[in-house]
Structure formats: structure tokens, C-alpha cells
Symmetry: C2
Subunit: 199 residues, 2 copies
């Protein structure tokens, strides 16, 4: 299970990501991935005992390749809560299109596959923590909208930033990515940040 040629393993992962990324995700059956990797279908099972396992490995691999951790780190460096909110939306919102293909595949398995569900939920939990950190920072800054308890605010922000919402706005409604980012920022700011009680 773990002694196989690691080069072949990454070829499989690259193949899966290529198929899931470029257009039709429906063409990502085990046989398709194998063909794309220039390998027999059974060889794939030598490396990943299950389709779910393969897809999960592919998302981890993609995270590594795209360096999402570094990107999110930038948002953690923000000085104020409001800046951090913007940085989070930039980082995550621009990451979504890059993972969209595999996210769809994983999401589709969620109903039927235990492991896939756990993997997806885990990833989303990480995003949620980013949201919670923003909300906390806004609260500390004293600018969090007073009629939203922090927990609720976190839930709401997390929901705003869901892959499904990105999908609906950019794919279904044809919003350019830039519009999605800017509008989401505005919406989040207006919703969570109480601006100048000044007078």
C-alpha cells in the first residue's frame, strides 16, 4: 500500500486533477484517470484502494502544489479585523476556482461515502476557523455588529464563503471572479463591521 513507486502515485494524482480541472468532471472515473496517467486501471488500485481515497489524496496534493497555507498565512498577518476580513476573502475566494473541480467531485461523494464526507467537512472546518478568527478580531476591535453574536456571525460568514455560493454566482450567474470577490467583500463588511459610530 505504501511501497509503490511514488512517481507513479503523483502521475495518478496529476491525471485526476487534470481531468477534474479541465471541464467535464464526469469523465473522472477510475478507468479515465488510469488512461490519463498512461497506466492500467488496476495499477491505480495499487496506490489508492478506493476512489474516495484517491480524491482525498488529490485535494491534499493540490493544497500542497498551490500553497494554500502560505496564502492564508497572509490573512493572519492583518493588523485590524476589517483588513483580515478582506485578506481572508481574497485568499479563500481566489482559491476556490482552483479547487473547484475536485471540490465538486468530493461534494458529490459526500452523500454516499463516509470518508469523503469526513475529508470535506474537515477542510471546511479549517475555513470556518479562519472565519471565526476574523470575527473574533472584529469583536476585539469593537467593530463587530452588535446584533450578531460571534458564533452566529461566524456561521454566516462561513456560509457566505461557501463553494456553493461561489459556484452559483460565478458559474450560474456568470459573475467575473473579480466581481465575486469585490461584492463578497462589500457584503461581508456591511454585514459584520459597524462603521464609525462617530458624529
Amino acid at each position: 500500500m505504501s511501497s509503490e513507486n511514488p512517481e507513479t502515485r503523483t502521475r495518478i494524482l496529476d491525471a485526476a486533477l487534470a481531468l477534474l480541472g479541465s471541464g467535464r468532471g464526469s469523465a473522472a472515473r477510475m478507468a479515465d484517470i488510469a488512461r490519463q496517467a498512461g497506466i492500467s486501471r488496476q495499477a491505480v488500485y495499487l496506490h489508492f484502494s478506493t476512489r474516495a481515497e484517491l480524491l482525498i489524496a488529490a485535494t491534499l496534493y493540490l493544497d500542497e502544489v498551490k500553497g494554500i497555507d502560505d496564502r492564508l498565512a497572509a490573512s493572519r498577518a492583518a493588523e485590524t479585523g476589517a483588513e483580515r476580513l478582506d485578506a481572508l476573502i481574497d485568499a479563500w475566494g481566489n482559491y476556490i476556482p482552483e479547487i473547484y473541480g475536485i471540490a465538486r467531485a468530493l461534494l458529490a461523494m459526500k452523500d454516499t461515502d463516509e470518508a469523503a464526507a469526513a475529508a470535506w467537512d474537515g477542510r471546511m472546518q479549517a475555513v470556518r476557523e479562519g472565519c471565526a478568527a476574523c470575527i473574533d478580531m472584529l469583536a476585539i476591535d469593537g467593530v463587530l455588529s452588535p446584533d450578531l453574536p460571534p458564533q452566529r456571525a461566524t456561521d454566516l460568514l462561513w456560509t457566505m464563503l461557501s463553494v456553493r455560493n461561489w459556484e452559483q454566482l460565478t458559474v450560474d450567474c456568470r459573475w467575473p471572479q473579480r466581481t465575486y470577490i469585490e461584492t463578497t467583500k462589500r457584503l461581508a463588511r456591511d454585514t459584520f463591521v459597524v462603521t464609525g459610530t462617530a458624529a
Copy 2:
């Protein structure tokens, strides 16, 4: 295809809705539905040539039973845009939990089945029209937030009201239905309605 006993047909639809509604939607294979209806699996195919066709018929049937049209009509009667927005969120937001089971099933087929995708998109298009009507009314009232073009506002409201968002907030985040409704109303009002330019 259309000369069969209509009573059996509705028994099938009731069976499907029962299975999809009560808990595990995974238990809604053709054989399960047939068993639930007290009928042979093949008899189901006598009435619905395809699983997708059955599910689509079930949603139409459910709409009829639940009288969604009447409920939405109420929202159309509102005098102001803001009232209409509230009424729409009440009507649709409280309808979602009733259709959630079948919505999940239909959504799951969307990727693989042409007809299911079309049916779902059609239904969502109807919701979108409700959203558009609200936004138009707000614009006519002169209270639509000026930095949101009506088209964008419609897209955004429509996205806010998506089944997926309801799912994430109530199922994943455990919000009570009431909280979902109230929070969504507040969010929509704050986002779209410019309140008193008065001074």
C-alpha cells in the same frame, strides 16, 4: 405510459416522498420506493420510465400538495418592496425544509442526469423571478441600495436564498428555522434596502 391506474401512480409518489422526507435519502432506490409503495419494482417503471422522471414528478406533486403557489401569491400582494422581501423570505424560506429531502435527491442527480438538471434549474429560475420582482419593487420604491445594479442584486438575493445556504445554516450550523428566517430577513434588508436618507 399514461393509461395506468392513477391511484398507483400517486402511491408511488407518496412512497418516494416518504422515503426522501423521513431521514435517509440514500434509502430511496427504485426498489426501496417500490417496497414502500407495496408494489413490484417493475410496476414503478410502468409509471415512470426513469428514476429522474419519478423524482421530477414527485417535486411537482409535492408543490401541488403543499400549495406553494398560494404561499408565494401572498408575497406578491405586498404593498412595498421591503414588505415583499420579507414575505418572499417567509414563503420560500419556510418552504425549503418541506422540499429538502427531494431537493437533495434532485441536486445529487444534477451532475449526471440532463433532465434532472433541467427540472431543478427550472424550479430555481422560478425562485429567481420572485427575487427579481422584489428587487424591481425596491428600485421603484427608490430604496434599492445604489451601489448594486438590479441584476447583481437579484443574483445576490437569489444566492442568499439557495437551498444550500439553508442547509448549511440549519443542518450544519444547527440554527433553528426561526433564526434562519429572521437572520436572512435582516441580512437581505440590510443589504438591499437603503433606509431613511432622512436627517
